[in-house]
């Protein structure tokens, strides 16, 4: 009874908000140019459809390999951010920057770990927490060494803290051999040179626009405006932020296709669903300028990252085992691994000849590409409609 009453109260509040917002929109149907700087703290440049198409046809890389590279590099970036003691706001921006870069330039043009390091370096430099090239060299050198637990089978499942930990018996933790990650001066110097080259490459590819707005602060603000009755706000916010962080790893590149407000609302929605919180019964997301369709898409997208990530991790480990450089298993995927994998599949890199089959969208005729795209969109629509109703 009381529940019903308070929910109608919230509803009224929301409607008030809604009206206010409508008034606002009516009075400035077009945001005046003076608002641009204020707005710039809430919006991101988004990927164009052409860029998203292009990604599939960019290189001869099969989609699943592109996804594996994307996933493991983003994880590496997160791991480096932790070891560099950077706040998540910095690391997450680096993740987004990296994702943007790979929509403009082919993935294979630089070593993945170098691009990851350069994006962290660049964002940290512009933030209040700059890190020296040597810090980065040490951290990346360690993460890529056999001694690190990064992507080592013993550290599975992913270190991502949003996943409920279900520890399988660890095979054998990597033995810590300090010699593995000793950093000789010449290695540092060449890393440094590559770092600077990648930095300017990223800036060039993105027209020097390093602006990234994260949805995290918006999500907190939205949570303060909402009232989930039977659940405390901290419970929900503790569930909301992991959704946002996990979404950084998504192959659907949610941060490049949706604005922060939509991401924030979708994460709140998922979190509330997870903890069984009672949500307002009206279409509260519209208060935050998110429409139902986008919300549905993001909710599904965010929920799928978990399972997908586990599978991706297995794939990466299998790939590493397959190309098996020495006794080492696991670890960060490298360009050489990808080349090895391609050879194994009988695809040679460069002439754009791939094996069609499951993933071969890359080299087919443009007409087919469009048909494929349409089919995918149909599937997605069906999925959304299924989940939304």
């Amino acid at each position: 009874m009381q529940l019903a009453m308070s929910s109608s109260f919230i509803l009224r509040q929301l409607l008030n908000l809604l009206q206010k917002q409508t008034l606002y929109v009516q009075s400035n149907s077009r945001p005046s140019p003076a608002d641009k700087a204020i707005m710039s703290h809430m919006v991101n440049p988004l990927a164009t459809p052409e860029q998203l198409y292009q990604r599939r046809s960019f290189s001869a890389l099969p989609t699943e390999l592109q996804d594996a590279i994307f996933f493991s590099t983003q994880c590496l970036t997160q791991a480096a951010g932790l070891l560099l003691q950077l706040p998540q706001s910095v690391t997450a921006q680096a993740n987004v920057l990296l994702a943007r870069y790979w929509l403009v330039e082919p993935m294979m043009s630089h070593e993945f770990s170098d691009i990851s390091a350069a994006s962290v370096y660049l964002i940290a430099k512009l933030s209040p927490y700059p890190r020296s090239p040597r810090d980065l060299a040490l951290v990346y050198n360690y993460l890529l060494s056999p001694s690190s637990t990064f992507f080592h089978p013993s550290s599975a499942p992913t270190s991502d803290d949003s996943q409920p930990p279900q520890q399988p018996p660890p095979p054998s933790p990597p033995t810590n051999i300090p010699n593995d990650y000793y950093l000789p001066e010449h290695v540092y110097n060449s890393f440094h040179t590559r770092l600077l080259r990648c930095e300017s490459r990223i800036l060039y590819a993105l027209s020097f626009d390093t602006h990234v707005s994260l949805p995290h602060p918006l999500a907190i603000t939205y949570l303060q405006a909402l009232d989930f009755l039977n659940t405390s706000k901290s419970t929900i916010s503790k569930r909301t932020l992991p959704y946002l962080n996990t979404a950084l790893l998504s192959p659907q590149m949610l941060y490049l296709t949706s604005q922060p407000n939509a991401l924030a609302v979708a994460a709140i929605y998922n979190a509330a669903k997870d903890v069984g919180a009672k949500m307002p019964e009206c279409e509260w997301w519209e208060v935050f300028d998110v429409d139902r369709e986008e919300l549905g898409f993001l909710v599904v997208g965010m929920r799928s990252v978990d399972a997908w990530g586990r599978k991706m991790r297995e794939d990466v480990e299998r790939m590493k085992a397959g190309t098996g450089s020495g006794s080492k298993r696991g670890g960060m995927i490298t360009r050489r691994d990808i080349e090895g994998e391609l050879r194994r599949r009988g695809i040679s890199l460069g002439n754009g000849d791939d094996d069609g089959g499951i993933t071969g969208v890359g080299s087919e005729e443009p007409v087919d590409m469009e048909a494929e795209m349409a089919r995918r969109m149909d599937e997605k629509m069906a999925e959304i409609e299924g989940s939304a109703s």
Binding site: V43, S207, A374
Partner: protein, 492 residues
């Protein structure tokens, strides 16, 4: 509430009309987006349409108590068939204002830089501490722009300079008529190595400094007001967006031939949250325009430092001479105290706690005994220096040049100042005199002015400084004051 169940109004005539409309839209969309051709069952759509209509009706009812908006207004937010948005946007029918109810955020896109070869260099404008600036024409459009080359030290192993990156980012974020507009960033043709980076800015004919140097007569009072108002509204915009410029001076203010002033050179600028973070570099702002709290070593400062610079620029606009031309930090501080008086615990509580204040030796009388024979306020000294300025002008200038940062007006307060409402009224921009176009076409004589401090420079310790001889206004600065000849005509 949102009408999940069957609606009572399901079969009304209005619903039929709405359905018809939705169908029409849907057909149009199908035509437009044939490749999307999605085979959603018509039944489902119909049910949803009904639900949407029901929701509309319900909401309408709720709102009739509150306000009688037109029926097409608020309920539109309840549209369910968001795929139809495309059609609505393509064909602006009555329902097109439905979709506009949600705020759409336009963030732009990202992509590669263009090449500098898209521009034709016309002539150099300036080659100085800030790097190289040239006038150029965009080949495609014929538009004249200013190309500013980002200064990169190849020996610097920390990569692209953070100041340059900040400048680009801040200018990209800004959009105001009194702030120079960044069009794009272009790079040299060899993209394998990114070494030549050029910022493309809108071109303005003059900078204020060279105009002041060359003009035979100072600006009229009405012109000074217009310039100050423009400067101030630009700064108000920056400060309201948490940007500190940190290098305001006349050579960084550009003027076009239509009397429009724009703030340029954001090489020192940065976003500063409110309240400011505890550690900001003190090495900002060109010496002559540097606020006393910076000279005294404050690491926590805010928009007030820009307002001090505005005060210095105000004085310079009146006399055509930089107001406080110190030879070094100590000399600058001396000049400031000569003009504004010595700080006291009453006028600036807490200034003694600033790092460099400890080494100042101030006349001991200034704090205690002076309260009886109060030294003339800053206003008096400024009045003596600017005999032609009105009382309101003096009060504005004096408040801008308050030693105590918290006594300075904010940019938006300054815009409201009485000085701008008094006669003579600010001159219309279009009525501004034009000046011979200088930007590059003719070499100009350049006077030596200090430059903005370099990043990473060592903060200079003031050392032991003795101000006890300065004794308030009766110090040495007195002779240099401009004296009116007994009387002077007030510009009213």
């Amino acid at each position: 509430m949102t009408g999940k169940g069957k609606s009572r109004w399901a079969d009304s005539a209005e619903d039929a009309a709405l359905e018809a409309q939705l169908k029409k839209e849907k057909e149009e969309k199908k035509r437009l987006k044939a490749e999307k051709a999605r085979k959603a069952e018509a039944e489902k759509k119909k049910r949803e349409a009904e639900a949407a209509a029901a929701a509309q009706r319900q909401q309408q009812q709720q709102q009739q108590t509150g306000d009688d908006d037109d029926a097409n207004g608020p309920p539109a937010k309840r549209r369910r068939l968001s795929p139809d948005r495309d059609a609505a946007a393509a064909a602006p029918t009555a329902s097109s204002n439905d979709s506009s109810k949600l705020l759409r955020f336009e963030g732009g896109r990202f992509g590669k830089c263009r090449s500098v070869e898209n521009y034709d260099k016309l002539n150099d404008i300036e080659e100085g501490a800030y790097g190289w600036v040239a006038r150029a024409r965009e080949i495609e459009t014929g538009k004249v722009v200013a190309l500013k080359r980002l200064k990169i030290d190849p020996k610097d192993r920390s990569g692209l300079p953070v100041t340059g990156l900040r400048e680009i980012q801040i200018l990209k974020d800004c959009s105001h008529r009194n702030i120079v507009k960044l069009k794009e960033v272009v790079v040299g043709d060899d993209t394998s190595k990114i070494e030549n980076i050029f910022i493309v800015l809108e071109f303005l004919e003059h900078d204020l400094k060279s105009i002041l140097e060359d003009m035979p007569e100072p600006f009229l009072a009405s012109e000074v007001k217009t310039l100050l108002l423009q400067l101030c509204s630009g700064i108000a915009y920056l400060h309201s967006h948490y940007i500190l410029h940190r290098d305001l001076k006349t050579s960084n203010l550009l003027l076009n031939n239509r009397g429009q002033l724009k703030i340029a050179d954001f090489g020192m600028a940065r976003y500063v949250p409110d309240p400011p973070p505890p550690k900001l570099t003190q090495l900002v702002v060109t010496l002559w325009y540097r606020a006393p709290e910076l000279l005294l070593g404050a690491a926590r400062y805010g928009p007030e430092i820009d307002m001090w610079s505005v005060g210095c620029i105000f004085g310079e606009l009146l006399t055509r001479e930089p107001l406080l031309q110190g030879k070094n930090e100590v000399d600058e501080l001396t000049k400031i105290f000569e003009l504004c008086g010595l700080p006291t615990d009453e006028s600036w509580p807490g200034f003694r706690r600033l790092p460099n204040a400890r080494s100042l030796r101030l006349p001991s009388s200034s704090s205690s005994s002076s309260s009886s024979s109060k030294p003339p306020s800053t206003g008096g000294l400024i009045r003596a220096k600017f005999p032609l300025l009105t009382a309101a002008g003096v009060s504005l200038l004096a408040s801008l040049l308050s030693l105590n940062p918290s006594r300075r007006p904010t940019a938006s307060e300054m815009l409201e100042h009485e000085y701008f409402r008094q006669d003579p009224k600010p001159k219309q921009e279009a009525m501004f005199p034009t000046f011979p176009s200088k930007a590059g076409q003719e070499k100009r004589r350049r006077r030596e002015t200090p430059n903005a401090p370099q990043r990473g420079q060592k903060v200079q310790d003031l050392g032991q400084v003795d101000f006890s001889s300065l004794g308030g206004i009766f110090g040495s600065g007195r002779e240099r004051e401009e004296r009116g000849g007994g009387f002077s005509l007030r510009m009213v």
